[in-house]
Each structure stands twice: as structure tokens, then as C-alpha cells.
Amino acid sequence: MKSPTALNKKPRAESISGYPGRNEVMDRGKSWWISFFDLTYARLDLDSIGSEQTRREVGFLIEALELSKDTRIADIGSGLGRHALELARRGFERITGLDNNRIFTEESRARAALENLNPRFVNADARDISFREEFDAAYIWMNLLGYFDDPEDNMRILASAARSLKSGGRLLMDLMNRDWVIGNFSPKGCKQIEREYVLEERRLDLQTSTVHSIWTMFTRTGTFKREMKLRLYSLHELIRMLQQAGLRFREAWGSLGMEPATYDSYHLKILARKEG
């Protein structure tokens, strides 16, 4: 591991304790995710997803969104660019990764440069993407929709994604299935990544359909506690939200193998199309 990207350097205290590059939009509300998504999180969560899994997810995206090499693609909430970079490796040329976390977009650019890949990574708030009628296809992978306290913010993500799509453009969302959580709720979870551990304590608030989690991370550089929240949605709620955003629901899958979604599906993968 000789790569010079931030994540493979010895972690610095300041990159763990706070978020140094917040922009104006993020300052509007002091939300949990401002401090949650840092390099420690990135290492213990995003980077713990194996490349084989990423390749399977990207295979699914290509099929579900019918991507071809010249499709203009937006990765909304691109994180460390897992999918954007894999698409670029496969020769997809017109990829834009959007994330409001500068640490993540910088890391993504550094990783792209290492492999001489061409996706662009842009700092953008998913609720307020400035692109208009720009993309043929977009995807929102892993729960971004549920991160905001105010349900209006989650609606704004969809509206913003819809605006960024050309007429007839496709949107794919992947997010945790509320019905799976109801059927399988456990107040505790844990994860081991080599010699680091994450313990998770969860509480379900039925009034707001929100899981409140406290993560305790036992890392190379110390022990950290973080809080996060996830607003949960069932399929029928998401279909309604898509409609309100001017997107037409097309299909819901429960797995990368494109099985239909059921209440036992862990994640929902939902395809919608911009009307017009």
C-alpha cells in the first residue's frame, strides 16, 4: 500500500475529530452527518466494502440503468467514488461524482489520479444540485435519502436529482428497506475490520420512522463515539415521493440479482424515470 491518498497515510487527529472543509450549505443545520462522515468512517465503512462487491454493484447499475459508454452519469452522494471509479475503469467516460463532503471528493480525485481515470468529482449538496437537464442517468447509492432530519430535505434530494436529469432520464436509488428493519430489528450490531471494531447501538423511533444509532469505533488511533440517524422508508412511501418529484416509478428490486423487492429484502433498489 504505497498510495499517497489521505486514507492510507497515518491518520491525523484533526481529520478524525472534525470536519475541516464544511461549506455554507452544510452550516445551515448542524446535522449529525457533518462530523460523522470523516476518514475514520470512510476506512471502517466505505473501504471495508470489498472490490468484488463493488464490481457486482456496478454490474447491476449498468444493467438497471442501461448505461452505455457515452451515457452522462451522475453519482449522487459519491462518497469515495467507489462506483464512479469502477465505472471509469470499465470505460464509461462521462461520469460526475457529487458529494458535499470535501474530504471525500478530494480523496476521490486523488484515487482517480492514481489510476489515470477521468471521472470528475464535484462538491455539491444533494438537495441543491446546480446541474439542469444534464444527465441521462443518475444513482443514489446507500441511504443518502434518509440522512436528513427533515423529511422535506429528503424530498428536495429527489426534486434536485429530477432537475439534473434530462427528460426521460433514469434514476436508481438504493436504500435500506424499512420493512426489513421492522422484521429483523436488532438493538445491537457489530463489525470487525481486521483489528478494528465498530459497535452499534440502535433505537427505533416509530413516531418519525427513524433509527437512531450510536457507533463506538475502536480504531488504530483511539476510541470514538458517533451518533447517526436514518429515516426509514417503505416502498410505497418512496413511490409516492418519486411521484411528487416528477419521477415515474418503474421497478423495485430486492437484490443485485434483480429479484423483485419483498418485505424481506434488506435493501430496496428502485428505478424511476423522469417524465416527459
Binding site: P151, L206, A252, Y263
Partner: protein, 278 residues
């Protein structure tokens, strides 16, 4: 005290919507035997205890039982001295049974035949309750929202609404595509399908009768989790007060079969409720 405004109201039969809604066929004598008659007077009394306590109602309050069926709860309230109780239902057969019972016992319970999306002439009510899974009958969500709108419009400011329904979370967790219930000599066989895209339970219920004449009825119910009802009723000026998982007052969880939810129109005004909430 506010009285029911009867001047504009119609107590005659409401015209049922043309076309065949499942609920127009479903509720008959047979269903009455299976469902309503299975409740003992003790069980009804316990439910009414809960309704009185949570709504904090007084003898002179104007109270509406929405989708009252054969008037189990409305009649029991009258028996206990509540003076202004009206039971609403669309099913005249059930209302006749209820009215006969009231007559027999010398009770002054009123009965109104209307569609639950329209209860003309009712305003300024102190309290409304809707018991035993009568919300979510309509295929089009807009129609279910009309029921919420009607409730909000019929209540006085600060009036309370108590809804008892099935908890979607329990259904999702315990879903059975087939089942049966009843006992000798009456059984119902159930075939169930849950449509995730609309959160609607579609049931096909085969009634096995004593005389061997079996037949099948269809029903469907839009099912809700707590947060959905809170959001839906909020759109009609109804404020969430509290939820329970049973009439024993247990906390609502994902394992509660029932979802009992109390709303107020604006701020809670009833002193007894205010006292309990403190």
C-alpha cells in the same frame, strides 16, 4: 355545551357510490356473526373504559362513533349515561340492529347512515372515535384522506379523535399468506396478499357455513405505520397526542398488533386529558 347541529344534516340513507366497492358487499349478517358477535359484553365494556379514559369525555359531550357497525360501543356509552352519542355507519342492516337494541333498552343513541367521507351537519363535536380497523378502506389514497378531513372538520377546536386499527409493522413482521380462524361450526379461510407498492392488504376470505354453502369475499385495506398516520392527520390540522399498543395501555412497538392513536384538533383542551398527559 355544543349540540350536534342537526339542521343541515340528513339522517336518511346516504347514497352509496355507484360501482362495487368491496365494503359494500363485505359487511353483512355473516360478517356480523363472525366479527361483532365474537366480542363478549365484558370485552366491549373494557374497550369502552379505554375510550372514555383516553378521550376524557363527560356525560354531556357530543360524541361520534365513526363506522359504528352494530353500535357495540355507542350503545354501551349510552348505557353509562352519555347523553349525546351518535353512531355513524354506511350499512343500514347494521344500523337497524343497533337502533332496535337502543329501542329495546330505552337508550337515546342516535344513528346516522352516511359514507364516512361525508358526515353532513356534524360540527363542533367534543370527541370522535373509530374502532376496530375502519380506516383505510378506499383504494385511492385521496379517499382515505377525505375521512381524515371529515374528522378534522367535525371536531371542535381542541376536540379529540381516537383511532383503533391494525399496526402495519405487526402485519409486515407476521405476515401469513394463508390462514384460518373461527371454531365449530363456522370458519373463515384466508388468502392474503400484501401489495408493497401501495401498502395494501388484499384478502380473499372463504366463509364455511353450517349448511355447507361456502363462498368467498374479497376485502382490501390500506395499512399504515404510526409515522404515516401522524403525517396524514397533520395535513388536516390534527395533532398527534399519544399512541398505545393495546387497551391495557401498553407502549406501541413493532410487535403490537393493534395501533391505537390519539389526535387532537389543535391544542388539547380537555382538562382530564391534559391532566393525564402531565
Amino acid at each position: 355545551m355544543n349540540k350536534f347541529d342537526k339542521s343541515r344534516g340528513s339522517r336518511t340513507h346516504a347514497k352509496q357510490a355507484s360501482g362495487t366497492q368491496w365494503w359494500e358487499q363485505f359487511f353483512d349478517t355473516e360478517w356480523k356473526r363472525f366479527s361483532f358477535d365474537a366480542h363478549t359484553p365484558e370485552h366491549t365494556a373494557k374497550q369502552v373504559d379505554f375510550i372514555i379514559r383516553k378521550l376524557g369525555i363527560n356525560k354531556e359531550d357530543n360524541i361520534l362513533d365513526l363506522a359504528c357497525g352494530i353500535g357495540r360501543h355507542a350503545l354501551e356509552l349510552s348505557r353509562r349515561g352519555f347523553e349525546h352519542v351518535t353512531g355513524q355507519d354506511f350499512c343500514q342492516e347494521y344500523l337497524d340492529i343497533a337502533a332496535q337494541q337502543a329501542n329495546k333498552e330505552g337508550l337515546n343513541t342516535e344513528f346516522l347512515n352516511s359514507d364516512m367521507r361525508r358526515i353532513p351537519g356534524y360540527a363542533n363535536l367534543d370527541a370522535i372515535y373509530c374502532w376496530h380497523t375502519s380506516f383505510g378502506y378506499f383504494e385511492d389514497e385521496v379517499e382515505n384522506e377525505k375521512v381524515a378531513d371529515t374528522i378534522g372538520a367535525a371536531l371542535k377546536q381542541g376536540g379529540l379523535f381516537l383511532l383503533d386499527t391494525i399496526n402495519r409493522d405487526w402485519v409486515v413482521k407476521n405476515f401469513q399468506s394463508q390462514g384460518w380462524h373461527g371454531e365449530v361450526p363456522n370458519y373463515i379461510l384466508e388468502r392474503n396478499h400484501f401489495d408493497l407498492a401501495t401498502s395494501t392488504h388484499h384478502g380473499e376470505w372463504t366463509f364455511i357455513a353450517e349448511d355447507g354453502k361456502n363462498h368467498t369475499k374479497k376485502m382490501q385495506l390500506r395499512q399504515y405505520s404510526l409515522h404515516e398516520l401522524i403525517e396524514l392527520f397533520a395535513r388536516y390540522g390534527m395533532r398527534f397526542v399519544q399512541a398505545w399498543g393495546s387497551i391495557d395501555g401498553e407502549e406501541l412497538t413493532i410487535d403490537s398488533r393493534r395501533l391505537i392513536i390519539l389526535f387532537s384538533k389543535g391544542e388539547v383542551s380537555s382538562t382530564s386529558i391534559a391532566r393525564e398527559l402531565r
